[in-house]
């Protein structure tokens, strides 16, 4: 878990560093505020990275701030960690991220009206282990509601997917 937090913190630090470097290529007027804000954010990010790397520094900072930021895990995660095995959680996490990316990809390729029932049915059947009837009914109902509200009433031209365009 600690590694994951390190990755996130350094990733955010990387974004700020990258943006700071790019500012030097802009005109003075355009780079003034990004540099001022970027410098402050960079300083904060470096402190956060130091806290992630060094537990000694983290505990010193906790004393200075007078509160106890739970470096590494949020309170809720610690509480939920008691109930859900960390290993199992990791698997669930990866699979849910995969499902979200799947929805985005299928929507882009096949369009909303195909992606919605397909995603809902597969998710409910394969991931949530719901019955056939519930999975089919929910997929159909949501598709019906989406069609009625967005296509029929709002007349919104939903994305048709690159395959059908």
């Amino acid at each position: 878990m600690k590694t994951e937090e390190k990755v996130l913190t350094f990733f955010l630090l990387g974004i700020v560093c990258f943006m700071m470097v790019l500012t030097f290529g802009y005109r003075p007027g355009s780079r003034l505020v990004p540099q001022v804000i970027g410098f402050c954010t960079l300083a904060l990010m470096i402190i956060l990275c130091m806290m992630v790397i060094s537990p000694k520094f983290a505990s010193w900072y906790q004393k200075v701030e007078g509160t106890s930021p739970l470096i590494g895990m949020s309170k809720e995660l610690i509480e939920s960690g008691k109930k859900v095995e960390q290993k199992d959680m990791k698997k669930r996490e990866i699979s849910v991220v995969g499902w979200v990316l799947f929805l985005m990809a299928v929507t882009y390729i096949l369009g909303f009206l195909v992606a919605i029932p397909l995603f809902l049915f597969l998710f409910l059947k394969l991931w949530a282990k719901e019955g056939w009837v519930l999975s089919l009914c929910m997929s159909g109902t949501v598709l019906g509601v989406v069609f009625f509200v967005f296509v029929y009433i709002l007349q919104l031209p939903l994305h048709e997917g690159i395959v059908f365009q």
Binding site: T23, P34, L48, V64, E65, P69, V96, V100, F119, V146
Partner: protein
């Protein structure tokens, strides 16, 4: 005040078909507000085409009712599913959702309905009575004040994220950095776009908040595999809802303070309801006794932001109608609707079409009462939602968020932004980074930059930030907020050493 016209307008509102438009507008607004991702702004956008054949007064009645009711509607998912129906309801989540987890969803919903109604009423009454004074005060706001206001909003968010001040500030800073993507507002130079045309207008704020708050949250719920309500939370009986109403009346001074604050912030163009909600929450936390329960499911943490959220609508009407400066995104849409119906803001609307102004204010007053009645009647039924398995509603929320993001500009780019921010929001939540600070940075970054650079170009220059009284007060408040956790830490260490 033209009392004759006021009474005639009231009679129109309560007559037929005025009352029908009031009730239908309120119901539509509540539904739009209650669905995460949709908002009062969306409700107005959807209703505008249907007002083409109406007279301006009826059109304003319908739109005003829908918009006014949406904020209360937005409190429902904030309390029940930890997802603000509208961005201004974000502060309600802090205590509303923990109450739901404790099985007190009914109390929170009852309190939210009552506080919203009272806040809305107080806000509009304050607006009516303070119109001349507020306009004079607003005219004294300059670039320096707008800049300070944006940063003060961010500091509040960072301080509210208890225990993670540094993470809150870093998230806010990152949000501001991301807001610089796109055209430089003054020199028109492209920044951080990497040749991608989609990024020229910057990162769209609404898809970003869909991702950060809704997708990230639902992902977490599905991964944990828990229902929103803890096992103790069965359902919220009607008695619990009335308990919420009573709690609100017990905290009338808090309602009054929050409503006054909300009205004031609402009147500042561009600052918006999110800041109003957090400001109200912050003042409640600082001024109420036994404040250690805030953030853990304290009803006062629901009352304060809800009262302020609805009160701000009254304040937001002022700059919109008087100067054509929209106080919020919804007010910008309202401006479009007024133009569509041949009404010019400023002197024209206040002199020639004063009846329309009265109708708008009365509709927003009336919708709060209708919304409260509906809210109190159905709140306990709605609370059952908390028992639904997240694996059932989670994928539906994913789908609605993606369609909602797409519907804004018919752009698949917005869908990608929603998903990317969803993944980022999930990771940020997991490790205690403030997602709301990131969002606020993204929202206010543009305004802060423009204000800062315009301030530099103004006669007062940099010194103006510290020589202008309001700017100085805002700066000092910000300073106190940032340093207070460290001072607390120092005092704590000193006590321990003693």
């Amino acid at each position: 005040m033209d009392w004759e016209l006021f009474i005639a307008t009231l009679a129109n509102l309560l007559g037929w078909p005025g009352i029908l438009f009031l009730i239908s507008g309120t119901i539509i607004g509540m539904i739009f507000g209650a669905i995460p991702g949709l908002s009062g702004t969306t409700a107005i956008v959807v209703l505008i085409p249907m007002t083409f054949g109406m007279n301006p007064s009826t059109a304003m009645l319908w739109l005003g009712a829908a918009y006014g009711a949406a904020t209360y509607g937005g409190a429902i998912p904030s309390i029940l599913i930890n997802t603000p129906g509208e961005a201004p309801n974000a502060a309600t989540v802090i205590d509303g959702f923990p109450m739901s987890q404790k099985g007190k969803a009914g109390i929170a919903l009852g309190a939210a309905a009552t506080a919203s109604t009272l806040g809305g009423l107080i806000g509009l009454l304050i607006t009516l009575s303070l119109i001349p004074l507020l306009i004079k005060f607003l005219m004294s706001f300059s670039y320096q004040e707008f800049f300070m206001m944006a940063f003060l909003g961010l500091c509040i968010i960072a301080v509210l994220g208890e225990g993670t001040l540094i993470k809150g500030l870093a998230s806010g800073g990152l949000g501001i950095m991301l807001s610089f993507i796109g055209f430089d507002p003054i020199t028109s130079e492209l920044r951080y776009t990497f040749g991608i045309e989609y990024l020229w207008d910057g990162i769209p704020v609404v898809p970003a908040i869909f991702g950060l708050l809704a997708i990230g949250e639902v992902m977490d719920l599905i991964i944990e595999g828990k229902t929103i309500a803890s096992p103790r939370a069965t359902r919220a009986p009607q008695g619990q809802v009335w308990e919420g109403v009573i709690e609100t009346f017990k905290n009338i001074p808090l309602v009054l303070r929050s409503s006054a604050l909300g009205t004031f912030i609402g009147a500042i163009p561009g600052v918006g309801g999110t800041v109003a909600g957090f400001f109200a929450y912050m003042q409640a936390k600082q001024t109420c006794k036994n404040n250690e329960t805030f953030g853990k499911g304290d009803v006062r943490g629901v009352i304060a932001p809800e009262a302020a959220n609805d009160a701000k609508e009254g304040g937001a009407l002022l700059p919109t109608l008087a100067f054509g400066i929209p106080g919020s995104s919804a007010m910008a849409v309202f401006l479009g609707a007024l133009t569509l119906h041949g009404l010019d803001v400023g002197q024209d609307i206040f002199v020639t079409h004063l009846g329309v102004v009265y109708m708008l204010i009365l509709a927003m007053l009336g919708c709060h009462m209708v919304a409260a009645v509906i809210g109190l009647l159905v709140a306990d039924k709605v609370a059952i939602l908390t028992r639904i398995r997240p694996t059932l509603f989670g994928p539906i929320i994913f789908v609605v968020c993606l369609i909602g993001a797409y519907a804004l500009r018919n752009s698949m780019g917005d869908v990608f932004v929603t998903v990317l921010f969803g993944l980022l929001g999930y990771e940020m939540r997991k490790f205690g980074f403030s997602r709301i600070a990131l969002f606020l940075g993204l929202l206010l970054g543009g305004m802060a930059e423009i204000s800062f650079r315009q301030a530099l170009m103004s006669e007062a220059g940099t010194a103006g930030f510290f020589t202008r009284p309001i700017s100085l007060v805002l700066f000092l408040t910000m300073l106190v907020m940032i340093t207070s956790p460290y001072i607390r830490g120092y005092r704590k260490r000193r006590r321990q050493s003693v």
